[in-house]
Structure formats: structure tokens, C-alpha cells
Amino acid sequence: MNRFFSLHRLVALLIKEMIQMRRDRVTFAMMLGVPLMQLMLFGFAINTDPKALPAALVSPTQDRYTRAMVTALELTGYYRFIAPNATEGEAEDLISRGEVAFVVTVPSDFGRRIERGDHASILIEADATDPSVASGAISTLSTVANSALLREAGQGQASSNGLEIIVHRRYNPEGITQYNIVPGLLGVILQLTMVMMTAMALTREVERGTMENLLSMPANPLEIMLGKVVPYLIVGAVQVVVVLVSAKLVFNVPFVGSLSLVLAGVFVLVLALVILGYLLSTVSRTQMQAMQLTFFFFLPSLLLSGFMFPYRGMPDWAQVIGEIFPLTHFLRLIRAVMLKGADFSAVAGPFFALVLFAFGLAVLALFRFRKTLD
């Protein structure tokens, strides 16, 4: 028997550790679930070179040159024309709501100019709030368009003057990544702190045994929930101020939209998140579990919401999953308002999605609370 190291002592420790690991179901599920989830998300859902981005075409005369252009653009795989015959106004609306990433405008005299061999141009407006989305699509433009026209018009004609493609990077002409990241970061920071803090705060009461005492005194579930939620709403408010002020002063992120609209969105988001945290705390028995559940929620929402990787670049199933995270909707709202100056009607969709989250979670939380009394 070795005094410094004994196998039977080590074995005893190993057995005890493995039994504990198996007993803690949540941790065990996390250990298996997290790698699997990451594998699925990074392996299949995330695409840093997004293809098939929704685009709108503004072309009053849908002639063969226009059609050739459109076909060529679609063949690159980057563009998918979901509004092939939009008016200028409709297209503007679509890009401001974020429903299309590109607006391709072909002037009415385009075909005539090509045939005459004159100087012709098309305008491509890209939503550059997320610079990485537009870059791949834009870089392939000129070669594709030129060769398509050459084929269509026949050799010699168009080549003399060539085709000019004017690219407007809307909302973020210099392609500054911070413009996209910083407003989104507000949502991410709020999400992590609000959900985790609230989840832990209530679980702490249960873990320390103070919950029993609290419930034996005249406090009802609504009061307890509000008592837990409101302090973190205040913490959230401070975070909002810090992030918005530093976005302006440190990162020079433009703020073209309405501040009150952003704040309204932030308020609903924080409310939803805090209630979500409260909900998580009703299912976890220890603070450790509450934290693990928070991360289990945090990770996919970070990856699928469009914060780290372009939402449009994900396959459809991943986009559908992305819709179930409040962060996804908040990102649409804040980017649209801050960077594009969208008004309420343009962001009503994401706004009401957030309201729905807050309301649904609140109902669920109150329902769950009644159960935890027993």
C-alpha cells in the first residue's frame, strides 16, 4: 500500500464523483446537450458567407436585359428576388424593415442604352447594417453583370462603354462593424445579466431555505414576483444608459431613429427577459442549475439571433428556431430604429413579438409559481 498514492482511494473518489454527476440530471444533460447543440449550430446553421439573400428589383421596363441581369445575379447564389417588380417606394420600405438585403434598380432607359452602346448603369443598394452580409454579394457583382450583358447583347456592342454598377452601402456606408455590433450588444448584455440575475435571485431563496419563510408570511406570488423583478429592471435601465451613451461617445454609432422607440423596445425586452429568468428559477432547485439553464438558453440565442452571424445566411430551419428568441426580434428593432431611422410601423412586427414574449412568459411564470408552493 502506497502512502502517497493509492488506487483504491482514487477509485473510491472516482465512483463517488460519477454517482454525483449522474444524480445531477440538469448538469448531466448540459454536458451532453451543449456540445451537441454547438455542433449542430456551428456545423449546419452558421454561415459567414450568406447566400440567397432576399432582394427587390425595381425595374419599370422588364426587358430582356433586365431579365438577363436578374438571372445572372440569381445564378451567383447570393441573390434571391422576393420582390421582382417593386416600385421605388415599396423597395425602400422593404429594405428599411429589413425584409430585403438588396434593392437592385434598373433604370427605364437601360435596355435602350445598352443597345445603342451608350454608357449604362444600374444601382444596387445594400443594407450594410451588417457589413458582412453585403460583402460577398457585392464583390461578385461587376464580373457577373458584365458577362451576362455581353452574352445577351452579343459581342462588341456593350463592351465599348461597359456597364457601370453603382453600389450604395446604405445605413453604414463605411462598413463599420461596430455599427452593427454595438446596438446588438445592448440586447446581448441585457439578455445575459437580466436572465441570470433574476434566475439566481429566486433560486437563492429556495436554496437557503428563506423561501419557506417568505411564503409563510402574507406575500402573494404576484408581489414576490414583482419584488424580484423590479430591482433588476432598474439594473437593466442603468445598463441601457451605459451602452447607449458609450455607443454614441466611444464608438460613434449613428442614432438616426427615435430614442423613445428604442427605449420602448428595450423596456419590453427587459421585461420579457426578467420574467424568463424568473421562470427558469421556478424549474431549478439550485443556483448552479439556474446558471446552467441560463447558458443553455443564452448560447443558441447568441448564435441564432443574428448577433454574431447573419440571420439571413442561416438555413430556414435555423431561422425558424431563431424566431423563438426575444433577442432576434430585439436586434431587428434596434438596428432598424438606430441605424435606419425606422418608425413604429416599420418595427411593429418585432415590437409586438417582444410584447407577446413578455406576456406569454408572465402567464407561464405565475402558473409555475403556484405549483412551486406545493
Binding site: R208, G209, T210, M211, E212, N213, L215, S216, M217, P218, A219, N220, L373, D374
Partner: protein, 302 residues
Amino acid sequence: MSDLAISVSGLTKRFGEKTVVNNVSLDVRKGEIMGFLGPNGSGKTTTIRLMCGLLEPDSGEGRVLGHDIRTERRAIKRKVGYMTQRFSFYEDLTIAENLSFVAGLYGMSPKRQVVRDTIADLGLTARKDQLAGSLSGGWKQRLALAACIMHKPALLMLDEPTAGVDPKARREFWDEIHALAHGGLTVLVSTHYMDEAERCHRISYISYGDLIAQGTVPEVVQGAALTTYVVTGGDTALAARLLRGAAGVDQVAPFGATLHVVGRDAMALKTSVDTVAFQTGSHAELSDTSLEDVFIQLMGAA
């Protein structure tokens, strides 16, 4: 309103498959101290939780302070003080902060005055800004009691209040309980300690969910109808070995140099004890049956 502070019957509570409280009926008169006894895991805590409105019974009904335990839980919570088994105030708040939190929940006014008086009564004025978590076990218990009676409840439920508290603090605690009961407060206290049980006006014994015995201490002891002999001198170790399993002998327990021998069948017990006493050269004498003997008997029977 009747003169019963607690009157429940047929209380049953199941957690999943397990029946934790089975058909328990309990009457507690106003102003009395009712001891609530039973082995570990026998459903005492759950019964208390059912009665102070923290849990809903699966079946059974009853009234606490005249309020229905199913439908008037809010009213019960207002009038009952419940001291949990574990210290369940906030260790990261000071004494004063804890008390003013409780005062706020019950809407007491003037809040500051109530809190200041409570702290003065506790004799903790000098330490009111100390964190509750840094108090010793005895002080934590006193703080918890003070917090539970601050709203002047009509009924106090104490769940093993003196676990881990030294004998002096325990005695002071019981003096306080008696003073409160004298002032008209009804007290239901669960405990494992026999000396504490004997300080109660009446006791109820619950075992694995069933209520087994109820009454004053002499009533319960008498009701058990046990005979006890004390065996002294001679080879008590040998005597103990011989007595275990002998006819009429239910319990053999060494107390220092003596043996307590307990049995239900007085005649058979006498024969066995006399025989063994003769064999081992010790002396056997009839003695009073203690409450502890009764409980060991009850636990064995359950």
C-alpha cells in the same frame, strides 16, 4: 368561534407515490402548548406546513384559528407565526434589516418603533447592525422567534426550534414560550427532545404519517401501559445480553451502570427480569416508565 386554535381531521398529503401525512387529526386548544413528536421523517414538518397554509392537503379538512385551511390560507398566514426548522431569515441582512423586512410584509406601523422595540426586547440593540449570518445558533433562534411573533400572532408553530442550541439557551427559549402561552398565545412545537416534550401541556405523537398517541404526558405514559424495571449491580452487560429476546421484554437500554428493561406484559417481564437478576447477581426494582420508554415503544410498534 370554538375554543380550539387548531382543529384538523383526516389530513393526507402525498408527494408522488409517497404518502407523507396519512389521515392525521389534531385538536389544539387555545392558549395551550402542544408538543408534536415523532421520529425523523414522520411527517411532522409537512403537517405543520399543511396547517399554516404552505401546502394544500390532498384530502382532509380543518380550521386554524377559525379559518379553513384550504380556502382561507391568506388569513391564516396573517395570524400565524411559523418558525422553520432551518434558520430562514436573510443571513446577508442585518438584524435590524431582517426585522424591518418582516414588519413591512405584515404592514406593521409605526414600523421603526416596532422594530426598535423588538430589538430592545431581544437585548440586541448594540448588535442591531450585525449580519444575521454571523450570529451564533442560539441568537439566530432568538432572532427567528422574535421575528415570528412580531406581528402578534394568535398561534405560533415551531418546527424543531431548539436543534443545535445549548441547554441554557434552550431553557431560556422555553421560558419565553411559556410566558407567551401565558399571555394567550397558542403554541404548536415539534421536537425530538423528551425534556421539551415534558414541558408541553399536551403532546401528540405522529409516526410515518399516522397519529398514534395524544394527551398530557402522564396520560400518554399511562396509555402505553408499560412496566419498567431498573436493573443495577452485578454483570449488567451479561444481564442485557440475556434479557434481549427474553419473554415479556420489549426494550433493554443501558443507562450508565444501570439497565432499563421495559415490557407490555407485566407478568412475563417480572419472571424474566427476576430470573436474569438471579443469574447475574444484580438487583431488579420496579420503576416509573419514562416518556422516552414510551416513544421507543411506539416507534418499535409503528
